[in-house]
Point group: C2
Chain length 141, copies 2
Amino acid sequence: MEQKIIDLLKRSNLSITDSRKKILESFFEQDSALAHADIEDHVGEDFDRVTIYRTLQTFVDKGIIHTIPTPDNAVLYALCKDSCSAGHHHDNHVHFICDNCNKTFCLEHVVVPAVQMPNGFAASQIDMVVSGICNYCNATT
Amino acid sequence: MEQKIIDLLKRSNLSITDSRKKILESFFEQDSALAHADIEDHVGEDFDRVTIYRTLQTFVDKGIIHTIPTPDNAVLYALCKDSCSAGHHHDNHVHFICDNCNKTFCLEHVVVPAVQMPNGFAASQIDMVVSGICNYCNATT
DNA sequence: TACACTATTGCAACTATGTTGCAAAATGTT
DNA sequence: AACATTTTGCAACATAGTTGCAATAGTGTA
């Protein structure tokens, strides 16, 4: 784990710091997307709020994580797959928010469908967020 | 216009107040969706910030307006079509954000397509936000 | 390993956004 | 017009996010 994280930082041309390691760790330990507050909880008092903001921004810039739009307007972050590179996200999958456990997942294999735009409108990016009940909650109720 | 607004308020079982009239007016004068800040600009110093928050919330509850999720996590509001009623929004159209003029539009006639969910996931609501260039900006550049 | 250079962090202060309780004012009803 | 009910404005508070700057830690080089 430790080595995996260090490799990822090196590959992204980032220096290896405690905060970056700890924050990336949060993402690897969790299969769902994380809000800023979740990360603050995970890293505890070790790091300043501002450091977390800046670190997340750095990770987004380098293509390590991506942000997820949510209907309730909270900012969520999730790990990018390997096909993302600095400044160029390949984030065309559907995101899923569970109404029960409130976790957000990247449905990596569900591609956002194309839609026919009205005359004059040109689409460059499409975000699709589905909410409902996730597979874990469905299995346990 | 004045009468149209009063009728709408009456139909929604809301009392007719200056702030509600002025805020509804903002929506009727503008064909695109409005952020809280836009409304604050439009109504000027006439009303308290808190009043605007509460009025918008009331309108959402009564099915007069609906919120739009945006990728940059700003809250936007737009008028509902007549098919919306209190507590029951029929908001299954696609929303469009122009990268040029930054306005947000409801594409009333573009219905959100269905997507195949992975095993175990049950969808109850789907939000789709498209960004690109709107018809007005395309026509004038 | 020690040095110097650069990048990163923490702190403090600030802005923006949104919420709550309560008293005052406006609205609707009789 | 008088009353009961809503709605509003104010003040205070809570949360989220940003910026400048000095202190600190990380990196490459000798």
